[in-house]
């Protein structure tokens, strides 16, 4: 039986909506094992993106814990949290969230570069550039390395975002509706990339509202009104 990589315990989150508080997540307990491909499905507003943000430490829960490799994220210092976001997890957003001023190669290299001083980069930059070029090739972007995000199609942008998420070889890949902004065929291309990554042993948690996408995963967690229903 493989070990648990990520676990939540009684995870709750609410947002203030005027005078009232809207409970988005209510006592969520999930566990994701190493190498697993898990989808979180549910209707719009069910809290699946919020859950993913909490797993990626992009937001803070009201109560409960997120344990990554048995370490409580709420106990981490801000620099340790930065390190977690930078190299332990990779995030793929629905709207790609690339930096328009940087080209494909630079966008992919960004998380690696950001953690290096100029001198360190002289030492390790070559290694990362090689890795980035491998990812670019793997993602079918070899002719696009010097292109800016606005010169790419939606599918190509999402592939750049996947490359950026993978540059630091994270243990966990989090994807928030990665095909939600793409047409069916582009979406399938992206899903096949995720399938390949999963086959290579990458742990993936993906949020989707599309059951056809969910079928590609090992298992699905269904959220409804902030609770796990399946």
């Amino acid at each position: 039986m493989s070990k648990v990589l990520l676990q939540t315990k009684s995870l709750s989150k609410s947002y203030k909506m005027g005078a009232t508080r809207l409970k988005v997540l209510n006592e969520i307990d999930i566990a994701v094992k190493y190498g697993e491909f898990v989808t979180i499905v549910g209707a719009s507003g069910s809290g699946k993106s919020t859950l993913l943000h909490l797993l990626g430490a992009l937001d803070k829960p009201d109560s409960g814990k997120v344990l990554f490799q048995e370490e409580d994220l709420s106990k981490l210092s801000s620099s340790a949290l930065n390190r977690y976001r930078n190299s332990k997890v990779g995030f793929v957003f629905q709207f790609y969230h690339l930096i328009n001023e940087l080209n494909v190669l630079e966008n992919i290299l960004m998380p690696a570069m950001a953690y290096c001083s100029a001198i360190q980069w002289l030492r390790v930059g070559g290694k990362y550039k090689k890795k980035a070029m491998e990812l670019i090739e793997k993602l079918g972007l070899q002719d696009r390395a010097k292109h800016k995000p606005y010169q790419l199609s939606g599918g190509e942008r999402q592939r750049v975002a996947i490359g950026r998420a993978l540059i630091n070889s994270p243990a966990l890949l989090l994807a928030d509706e990665p095909t939600g902004n793409l047409d069916w065929s582009r979406g399938q291309e992206i899903l096949s990339i995720f399938s390949q990554l999963h086959q290579q042993g990458q742990t993936i948690v993906m949020v989707t509202h599309d059951q056809r996408v969910a079928q590609k995963a090992d298992r699905s967690i269904v959220l409804s009104d902030g609770r796990i229903t399946e």
């Binding site: 943000h53 990626g56 992009l58 937001d59 803070k60 801000s78 620099s79 949290l81 930065n82 390190r83 977690y84 976001r85 930078n86 190299s87 995030f91 957003f93 969230h97 690339l98 930096i99 001023e101 940087l102 630079e106 960004m110 998380p111 570069m113 950001a114 953690y115 290096c116 001083s117 100029a118 980069w121 950026r164």
Partner: protein, 446 residues
């Protein structure tokens, strides 16, 4: 490494960065030009006023003048803190051109060229550079009497809108005065009530003070004494201008000269001319010219307050520009935070970006200001030449030319303020937003 790269990309690739650079440049340009011109006007006026009267002035406010000036002058010259001293006659005259019927009221100043040029900077105001002993010698005939005319008197503007000296001038001027006795009554009666003398223009004087240059005729001291009746009964002068040695305290010198004047008053208190000494005063140049300097100093204080307001508005504009710039980049900050880049590094990135804008904007603004100020008088001349329009009419405003010398300290203050304003303008919004949870920044709709 990453910070420098991204900051450079933001700076070079974003039109909003160019707009921000332009905003900083315009702010620096405006403040530099306004401060140089307005501050220069005040300082220039005060310096030029000082240059016309020396450091300490012994004077009588009576048109009759005061006696024993030559003895007093001798005493003053003996003082070791005195560089030079010169007697001056100041009165009024009517000026007319020979053959014409135009009468113009002017201030008549009688000077001893040699000592007057030591005390004041009169010589540098003259168009024709000439030795002291020939200062009143007309161009065409050295045997005739000559006078020096303020450049704005009966002169015309050239194509650049400036009043210029005509070296080939052949103009005979008649000066008419009312000579007064030591009692203050008219010295002459009936048809000989006035004293008149003809002069040829020997030179023009441009002190840079329109009030002086538009109304003053300079003639030899002895001529003025004669025309004003100050050579009758007892010789008199209107004032003694004194220049003190460098490093001497002006206040102490005024006190010491006051003691000399007081002693002279006491020595002659039973004299029949003693009443003429009662009005004799000793003042430093600032007090003597307070009627014209005080409003300028007040104006300078007001200008300083206005400059502060301009500077405040400029700082605010820069702050707003950077605030908008940072808010324009909220999504990018969210992306950077989501890939684990620290708040500290993000702050550094935007401060670097702000520094680039500030340096570029300040450099462009300062160079633009320098270039504009360098040619501001040419530009004004061109406007006059082409459109007959002059920004500062020289007969109304007391300036020779528009001040254009940039003061190093003013420039340094402007550069520092611009850099600080830009950095603060970027720091506060970045510091504020970079601490937010990444998800909040990423959800911003841009």
């Amino acid at each position: 490494m990453f910070n420098v790269k991204l900051a450079l990309k933001y700076f070079l690739k974003k039109p909003i960065s160019w707009l921000a650079t332009l905003a900083v440049a315009i702010s620096v340009f405006v403040v530099l030009v306004v401060m140089t011109v307005m501050h220069g006007l005040v300082v220039d006026y005060i310096n030029k006023t000082h240059a016309t009267v020396g450091d300490v002035i012994v004077y009588s406010d009576s048109l009759v003048g005061f006696p024993y000036y030559d003895r007093l002058l001798g005493e003053i010259d003996k003082q070791n803190f005195v560089e030079a001293a010169s007697p001056v006659i100041k009165s009024f005259a009517m000026l007319s051109v020979a053959g014409g019927n135009r009468g113009l009221g002017v201030n008549l100043v009688g000077i001893e060229a040699s000592s007057y040029n030591q005390v004041t900077e009169f010589k540098s105001s003259l168009y024709r550079k000439i030795d002291n002993d020939k200062i009143f010698t007309p161009y065409f005939d050295s045997k005739k009497s000559g006078c020096i005319r303020g450049i704005l008197i009966m002169n015309s503007k050239n194509y650049q809108g400036k009043f210029t000296h005509n070296p080939l001038i052949f103009e005979k001027l008649i000066l008419t005065c009312f000579p007064l006795s030591y009692k203050g009554t008219l010295l002459k009666a009936a048809s000989g009530i006035v004293d008149s003398k003809s002069y040829y223009v020997a030179n023009d004087s441009d002190t840079g003070l329109a009030s002086v240059d538009s109304s003053t005729i300079y003639i030899p001291f002895t001529d003025a004494q004669m025309l004003c009746g100050m050579d009758s009964t007892i010789k008199r002068a209107s004032a003694i201008y004194i220049k003190i040695k460098q490093g001497e305290s002006l206040g102490e010198c005024v006190d010491k000269i006051s003691q000399l004047v007081q002693r002279m008053k006491e020595q002659n208190e039973n004299d029949k001319f003693s009443m003429l000494l009662r009005n004799v005063r000793v003042e430093d140049w600032k007090t003597y010219k307070r009627e014209s300097i005080a409003p300028m100093e007040k104006e300078q204080a007001m200008l300083t307050a206005l400059f502060l307001l301009i500077a405040l508005v400029t700082v605010f504009v820069i702050f707003v520009v950077f605030f908008m710039l940072v808010h324009h980049k909220l999504r990018d900050i969210g992306i950077l935070r989501s890939v684990g880049i620290s708040v500290f590094k993000i702050n550094g990135l935007f401060l670097l970006f702000a520094t680039m804008i500030a340096i570029a904007g300040t450099t462009i603004g300062a160079l633009g200001g320098w270039f504009f100020l360098r040619y501001i008088n040419n530009l004004e001349g061109w406007l006059f030449r082409e459109f007959g329009w002059q920004l500062w009419n020289r007969t109304i405003y007391d300036i020779g030319e528009i001040p254009h010398d940039i003061q190093t300290e003013v420039l340094c203050v402007i550069i520092i303020c611009s850099l600080v304003a830009s950095l603060l303008g970027a720091f506060f919004p970045v510091f504020n937003v970079s601490r937010r949870d990444p998800v909040k920044l990423l959800s911003v709709d841009q």
